[in-house]
């Protein structure tokens, strides 16, 4: 297949000689071995192919080969109208589809100079946070799977269904709601949804406690994650690592609080959790706290949900005036941004999609150097990427 594409390794000779020098017994020197993970491997969460060069059990160099899920969103966006694109971009990060729509719709609204009514903004915020819970919850379970604990994965899938049910009952779609319209939302919340949501949030909080009881403090889990895969904050930022991965490296930066105000976040009281360690454990811990924080935010939002219309007055045909806009939001996986260039037509002229996982994963060649093979899986698991978000 793509054997011509098999990456040539640009192994840093200095690094390699260090490793060789660290071997006490030269007779036990093992030759380099190239291990190919993927492109289809359960531990890679999809179709990431990882070519690692091993010296014994230690990784000398790693090269992720991406593009097995490249679908050409940026090109396809140029051939679609704005309402059609929201259908498409749902599928970038398929776990938090609703959160993908928000920045795009927000950008188009900015260009058109319209603003969604408050109730629509609040419901958008609720659904964004719900999709954050649905996304991260899967991570909380799967991280257990990476270190050999099967039970949390089942819990993750079980309780995630509750959140998906909420999203489905409000939007009609489990996965890809396509619920945002330019200028508001398609529909209001159904009757009884708020009470149902509160009940579910209680269950989610209890589920978070379960995860904490089982994993955090567990000797095996901590041994496999503490001190493994440390990302220095400054380097992580220069690589473009964002979201919980960066906050776990001690960088206190959350676009919900620090970015340009969007949705109902300025009116919410929430804490941005950080951790100073920067290792796999810190990433797990930060995400665990973020899930709880998201639950708190949803409850706040339900309490203060304003009444009113859910759709602003928009023209029947969406034509977006000429201009360019950069919109970014804090998505479950990190910074999601769209650079929309419009030329006054019914579709955008150019859409640059900045997806979080792409940059999060681009640090892997640096991060995997010198780690042991079993840790490769936990590090990749703790970075938590979605292949569609990498390859677009």
């Amino acid at each position: 297949m793509t054997s011509t594409e098999t990456p040539g390794f640009e192994v840093d000779p200095a690094l390699y000689s260090n490793l060789a020098g660290s071997q006490v017994n030269v007779e036990l020197d093992t030759g380099d071995m190239i291990l190919n993970l993927g492109p289809q491997h359960p531990a890679t969460h999809g179709t990431l192919r990882l070519v690692v060069r091993l010296d014994g059990e230690r990784v000398v160099a790693a090269d992720p080969v991406i593009g097995y899920m490249h679908r050409g969103y940026e090109k396809l966006s140029e051939f679609r109208t704005y309402p059609q694109i929201t259908t498409l971009i749902n599928r970038i990060d398929w776990l938090s589809s609703f959160a993908n729509e928000v920045p795009f719709v927000h950008g188009a609204e900015q260009l058109m100079g319209i603003e969604a009514p408050p109730r629509a903004q609040w419901i958008r915020t609720i659904l964004t946070e719900l999709s954050r819970i649905a996304t991260i919850y899967l991570f909380l379970g799967e991280m257990g799977l990476q270190v050999g604990a099967l039970t949390p994965a089942f819990w993750g899938f079980r309780d995630r269904e509750l959140v998906l049910n909420l999203i489905e009952s409000a939007t009609g779609g489990r996965f890809h709601p396509n619920f945002n319209r330019i200028g508001g939302l398609k529909d209001d919340l159904p009757w009884g949804w708020i009470a149902e949501c509160r009940t579910t949030m209680d269950k989610i909080l209890r589920g978070c406690d379960d995860f904490e009881d089982v994993l955090v403090g567990n000797e095996i889990f901590e041994a496999r994650t503490r001190g493994i895969g440390i990302i220095p904050g400054e380097l992580g930022a220069a690589y473009g690592v964002s979201g919980a991965n960066l906050r776990a490296s001690g960088i206190d930066w959350d676009l919900r609080r620090d970015g340009k105000p969007y949705l109902a976040y300025p009116e919410l009281d929430f804490k941005v959790w950080t951790h100073s360690d920067g290792d796999s454990f810190a990433r797990y811990w930060v995400r665990l706290q973020e899930t709880r924080e998201a639950v708190r935010m949803v409850i706040q939002l339900l309490d203060g949900l304003p009444a009113g219309p859910i759709m602003a007055k928009v023209p029947r045909i969406i034509k977006v005036p000429e201009g360019e806009v950069w919109v970014e939001t804090e998505n479950p996986l990190g910074q999601m941004g769209y650079y929309i260039v419009s030329k006054g037509a019914t579709g955008p002229f150019r859409v640059k999609i900045r997806s979080a996982s792409f940059s999060n994963v681009s640090i892997l060649p640096w991060l995997l150097r010198g780690v042991y093979v079993p840790d490769v899986i936990t590090i990749m698991g703790s970075l938590y990427f979605i292949l569609g978000d990498i390859d677009r």
């Binding site: 793509t2 999809g46 179709t47 899938f157 079980r158 569609g388």
Partner: protein
């Protein structure tokens, strides 16, 4: 299996034998899950979530290798970069083998029908038995596809029946050209 391929005295095997064989086959489907995109999560939900619990249908997920699998579920967008890998793994599966194409992307390209990098349908690469529509299909849809496949397996004839072609598979002659295509 001589019974299956040749039949008994050149005739079809007796009906009870066929029934028993198919019955045991359909409830021990080793399923190789080829999760590619969004549908993979729904497939994961069908497999791993207690709500759907596919194993109760006699489907055994996570085989150690495609060489031990009876069924492959292609769930998600197949790209031109991925298609050779799918073909290669399909060839490694032993006959008889079944393919379920899950989701619009695997069926026909779906929302990416005009993309420059997406294969418009996995059936261009490997033969497909069951197509599941949806973007993504719900886990229940995958369960129904499994049930449909099981019905189909139950009704498969043996001996000289046409459906027995599947049992024989394709004879692969390993020569230089074959190897050259796989380097």
């Amino acid at each position: 299996m001589g019974l299956v391929e040749k039949g008994v005295f050149g005739k079809k095997p007796l009906k009870p034998v066929t029934w028993l064989l198919n019955y045991s086959r359909k409830y021990s489907l080793w399923m190789f899950q080829w999760g590619l995109a969004c549908c993979a999560i729904e497939m994961g939900a069908a497999l791993a979530s207690p709500r759907y619990d596919m194993m109760r249908l006699g489907v055994i997920p996570f085989p150690a290798s495609p060489r031990q699998a009876d069924l492959v579920v292609i769930s998600g967008t197949v790209t031109d970069k991925m298609a050779p890998a799918i073909k290669r793994l399909y060839e490694q599966m032993p006959d008889p083998k079944y393919v379920i194409s899950m989701g619009s992307c695997a069926n026909c390209g779906g929302p990416y029908w005009d993309s420059y990098s997406v294969t418009k349908g996995v059936d261009q690469v490997i033969p497909v038995d069951i197509y599941i529509p949806g973007c993504p299909p719900r886990p229940e849809a995958l369960l129904e596809a499994i049930v449909m496949l099981q019905e189909r397996i139950q009704n498969e004839g043996l001996g000289n029946d046409e459906l027995a072609q599947r049992w024989r598979g394709e004879h692969v002659v390993v020569d230089n050209a074959y190897m050259a295509a796989r380097v």
